[in-house]
C-alpha cells in the first residue's frame, strides 16, 4: 500500500521527466500518450485507494526530510477521506484535460508540445504533493510547485510579452500569499514544535487565541493568493493568457482549490479562530459579488469564465468562513466538474472559430457545434444552480450555512447566485444564439472539435449532472449528505438546526431567482446586438479599475523607488565603490610596471637594496 500511494504522485513526475527531457525526440503521439497515461495511472490508483484502501489519518512515512534540533519533518503522505477525494478530482479531471489537450494543442511544434505536457504533468505532480503531504512543509512544496507551474503554463506562449507579463503577475501575486503561508508555518513550528497535521491539530488547545488568530490569518493570506480572493485575485483573470486547457486545469482541478483544501485541512485551527472566520466569510462574500459584477460585462469568453471562477471561489470561502467545511469541499468538487466542462467547452468554441475569443464576434454557433453547445448548456445550468444539476446542491449547502450564520452574507450570496445565472446565460446566448458576427472566412471554418475534445466534454457533462447527488440534503433523501458523512473523520459534521420547511423555502427561492435571471438573460441577449455601455457598464467592463488602482498605488511607486535606488545607491554608491577598487588596482599596477623588467640582475639588486633598507630600519627602530 505504501508503494502504491507513492506511485500516485510519482507517475506524473516520471511523465514530466520523460516528456521534458525527450521533448525534442519523442513524437507528439507518444508525448500525449505518456502525459495522459501517467495521469490515468494515478487516477486508477487513486480509485483503488478510494474504494479499497484503508483511509486513515496515519501518515505513511518515507524518509526523514529535515532534522534540525528537536524539529523532525518526515517526508510522509497522508491519505485520508479528504485527500483521497481531492486525489480523485485532481487526477480524474486532470486526465480528461490531458486527453483534451492532445487534440487542442496538436498544431504546436513538437518541441513545444513536449514542453507543454511536461509542465502539465509537473503541475499535477505538485498538486498531488500538496494534497497528500502529511505536514505543512510537504504541503508547502506542492504549494510552491503549483505556483511555479502556473507561471510556466500561463507564460507558455512566451514570445507574447503580454502573456509573459500575465505569468509574472500570477507568480508575484502568489508569492505574496506564499509569504503569509510560510510565516504561518514558522509560527506553528515556534509554538507547537511540529508541522505534522496530527500533532499540530492535537495541540490546538495549548495555543493562545492570539496565536491561533495570527496563524489562521496568515494561512488565509496564503489562501487568498492561491485561490484568488480579494485582494490578490487579479492574477486569475490574467491567467487566461495560457492555453485554454491550462485555464481549465488551473481553475477547476488544481491550483485554485489549494487554498480551500488547506483551510479545510486545518479546520481544527480555524474552528477556534472566530475573528479569522468572520474575515474569511466577509472576504469570500465580497469576492463572490465583486467578481460576479465584473463578469457581467466581459466580452472575452475566457474572461467571463475566469471571473466566474473567482466568484465561485468566493462562495467556497464564504462556506469556510461559516464553518461549513464539507459544503466548501463539496462545491470544490462540483465546481471542478462544471468549470472544467465550461473551460474545455470554451476551448472547443475558440478552436472552432479560429482562435477568436471575443464573444461579440461569435453567435449562432448552436447549429454547427451541437455537442459543444449541449455540454456547455449543461455546464451553465450546473453553475447557475438549477436542480438537479450538481451546482444546485453544493451552492445550496453553502447558502444554507450562510443563512444560518449571518443573514446579510446570505443575501449577498443569493444576489451573487442571480448574477451568476445571468452572466453565464448571457455568455451562452451571445455565443451560441443569434447569427454569426465573425468574418466570412471564420464562418466557413467552423467545425465541431475532434473526439479527443468532445469525449472529455461528455464525461464532464455527465459528472456535472450527477456529481451533486453525493451530497443530496437530508430534506430530499433520508440519509442524505453522504459527502459530509464520508468526510466526517476529517471534518466534523455540521448539524443544521434549520427547519425543513425553511430549508425547502430557501431552495425554492434560489431556484426561482436563478430561473428568473436566466429568463432575463434570454430576453436581453437572445439576439445580441452591439450595445452602448452606460457609465456603470464601463466601470464593470474595466473591472472596477482595480488593476489600475494596484498599478498606481503599489506597482508604480515601487518602480519609482527602484529607479531612485538604482540611481543613488546602485550607481553612485555600490558601483562607485566596486569600480573604484578596480580602478585603483589598475592604476597601481601601471605605476609599478617598471619593476618587472625581466632582468635577473635588477631583481637581485632590488632584493639587496630592500634588505639593506630593512636592516637600517630595524637598526633605528630598535632604539
Amino acid at each position: 500500500m505504501k508503494n502504491l500511494i507513492a506511485l500516485v504522485p510519482l507517475l506524473p513526475l516520471i511523465g514530466f521527466l520523460v516528456n521534458g527531457l525527450g521533448r525534442k525526440h519523442l513524437s507528439k503521439g507518444l508525448v500525449g500518450a505518456i502525459g495522459s497515461g501517467t495521469v490515468l495511472g494515478s487516477f486508477l490508483i487513486s480509485l483503488y485507494i478510494f474504494f479499497k484502501g484503508p483511509l486513515s489519518a496515519t501518515p505513511v512515512r518515507y524518509f526523514d526530510f529535515i532534522q534540525a534540533g528537536s524539529l523532525h519533518i518526515p517526508f510522509a503522505f497522508q491519505v485520508d477521506q479528504l485527500s483521497s477525494l481531492f486525489l480523485l478530482i485532481i487526477t480524474g479531471v486532470g486526465f480528461l484535460i490531458h486527453v483534451y489537450s492532445t487534440a487542442y494543442m496538436h498544431e504546436e511544434k513538437r518541441e513545444h508540445f513536449g514542453r507543454y505536457f511536461a509542465y502539465l504533468n509537473l503541475f499535477v505532480f505538485s498538486m498531488l504533493l500538496l494534497v497528500m503531504g502529511s505536514n505543512f512543509v510537504i504541503m508547502f512544496i506542492g504549494w510552491e510547485g503549483v505556483g511555479l507551474c502556473s507561471y510556466l503554463l500561463i507564460g507558455y506562449w512566451f514570445k507574447n510579452i503580454d502573456y509573459t507579463k500575465a505569468a509574472k503577475k500570477a507568480f508575484v501575486m502568489n508569492r505574496i500569499g506564499d509569504l503569509g503561508f510560510l510565516l504561518a508555518v514558522f509560527w506553528i513550528i515556534a509554538k507547537t514544535g511540529s508541522v505534522d497535521f496530527g500533532t499540530v491539530f492535537a495541540n490546538v488547545g495549548k495555543l493562545t487565541s492570539a496565536d491561533i488568530t495570527g496563524i489562521t490569518l496568515l494561512l488565509f493570506l496564503g489562501a487568498t493568493g492561491k485561490s484568488a480572493q480579494i485582494p490578490l485575485y487579479t492574477w486569475l483573470p490574467d491567467a487566461m493568457a495560457g492555453p485554454t486547457p491550462v485555464s481549465a486545469l488551473i481553475h477547476a482541478a488544481t491550483m485554485v482549490t489549494a487554498g480551500i483544501y488547506m483551510i479545510a485541512r486545518s479546520n481544527a485551527l480555524f474552528a477556534h479562530a472566530d475573528v479569522t472566520n468572520t474575515v474569511i466569510a466577509i472576504i469570500g462574500a465580497a469576492t463572490a459579488l465583486l467578481a460576479a459584477t465584473i463578469a457581467l460585462r466581459q466580452n472575452d469568453i475566457k474572461k467571463v469564465l475566469a471571473y466566474s471562477t473567482v466568484s465561485q471561489l468566493g462562495y467556497m470561502f464564504l462556506a469556510l468562513g461559516c464553518g461549513a467545511y464539507s459544503a466548501a469541499v463539496f462545491h470544490v468538487m462540483t465546481h471542478a466538474f462544471f468549470k472544467a466542462l465550461l473551460f474545455l467547452g470554451s476551448g472547443s468554441v475558440i478552436h472552432a472559430v479560429s482562435g477568436q475569443q471575443d464573444i461579440r464576434f461569435m453567435g449562432g454557433l448552436k447549429g454547427k457545434l451541437k455537442i459543444t453547445y449541449l455540454t456547455f448548456f449543461i455546464g451553465c445550468l450546473a453553475i447557475a444552480g438549477i436542480p438537479p444539476f450538481s451546482g444546485f446542491f453544493s451552492k445550496d449547502a453553502i447558502l444554507l450555512s450562510a443563512f444560518e450564520h449571518d443573514k446579510f452574507l446570505y443575501v449577498i450570496g443569493l444576489l451573487t447566485a442571480a448574477l451568476t445565472a445571468f452572466y453565464m446565460f448571457r455568455l451562452l446566448f451571445i455565443t451560441f444564439n443569434g447569427s454569426f458576427r465573425g468574418t466570412e472566412e471564420q464562418r466557413h471554418h467552423i467545425h465541431e472539435s475532434p473526439a479527443a475534445m468532445t469525449i472529455p466534454l461528455f464525461v464532464l457533462a455527465v459528472l456535472s449532472i450527477i456529481g451533486g447527488f453525493v451530497g443530496v440534503p437530508d430534506v430530499f433523501l433520508h440519509g442524505g449528505e453522504r459527502l459530509g458523512a464520508f468526510l466526517s473523520p476529517v471534518i466534523p459534521e455540521a448539524h443544521h438546526e434549520i427547519a425543513h420547511n425553511t430549508e425547502m423555502l430557501l431552495m425554492g427561492l434560489t431556484t426561482i431567482i436563478a430561473i428568473g435571471a436566466i429568463v432575463f438573460a434570454w430576453i436581453r441577449y437572445r439576439n445580441y446586438k452591439e450595445e452602448q455601455n452606460g457609465s456603470f457598464g464601463r466601470l464593470l467592463q474595466n473591472k472596477w479599475y482595480v488593476d489600475e488602482l494596484y498599478d498606481s498605488v503599489i506597482v508604480r511607486p515601487v518602480n519609482r523607488l527602484g529607479a531612485v535606488s538604482q540611481k543613488y545607491f546602485e550607481r553612485s554608491g555600490i558601483d562607485f565603490l566596486v569600480n573604484g577598487v578596480g580602478r585603483l588596482v589598475n592604476y597601481g599596477g601601471r605605476q609599478l610596471r617598471w619593476m618587472q623588467s625581466g632582468q635577473v640582475g635588477s631583481y637581485v639588486l632590488l632584493m639587496v637594496i630592500s634588505m639593506v633598507l630593512f636592516f637600517v630600519l630595524q637598526f633605528f627602530l630598535r632604539k
Binding site: 625581466g598 632582468q599 635577473v600 637581485v604 639587496v608
Partner: protein, 109 residues
C-alpha cells in the same frame, strides 16, 4: 681571538659576494660569488658557535654545537646546489655558446 675580526672578515666576504653577483655577467663567477656568500655565513656560524661554547663554561661540553652542525648542512646543500647549478651552466653554454647571465632572460620567450 676577538669575535670582531671574524665578523668583519665575514662581512667583507659577504659584500664581495653580493657585489660579484650584482656586477659580473659571467655565470661561473656569479656562481662562485654565491659560494662566497655561503661561506661567509658559515664562518659566522662557526665563530658564534665557538664563542657561545666558551661563554657557557667548561661543564657544558655540547653547548654551541648546533652552529657547527648547521655549517655541515649548508656545505651539503651547497655541494648539491653546485652540481645542479653547473649542469644548468653547461646547458646554457650548449644552447647559447656563452655563459652570460643576461642571456638567461631568454627563458621567458
Amino acid at each position: 681571538m676577538d669575535i670582531r675580526y671574524y665578523l668583519f672578515l665575514s662581512l667583507a666576504l659577504f659584500v664581495i659576494g653580493i657585489m660579484g653577483v650584482l656586477t659580473r655577467r659571467n655565470a661561473i663567477i656569479v656562481f662562485m660569488c654565491i659560494e662566497l656568500m655561503l661561506n661567509a655565513v658559515n664562518l659566522l656560524l662557526v665563530a658564534f658557535s665557538k664563542m657561545h661554547h666558551l661563554a657557557a663554561g667548561a661543564g657544558a661540553s655540547t653547548v654551541g654545537s648546533e652552529g657547527q652542525l648547521f655549517v655541515f648542512f649548508i656545505m651539503v646543500v651547497a655541494a648539491a646546489e653546485v652540481s645542479v647549478g653547473l649542469a644548468i651552466i653547461v646547458m646554457l653554454y650548449r644552447n647559447t655558446h656563452s655563459v652570460d647571465v643576461n642571456f638567461l632572460n631568454r627563458l621567458k620567450h
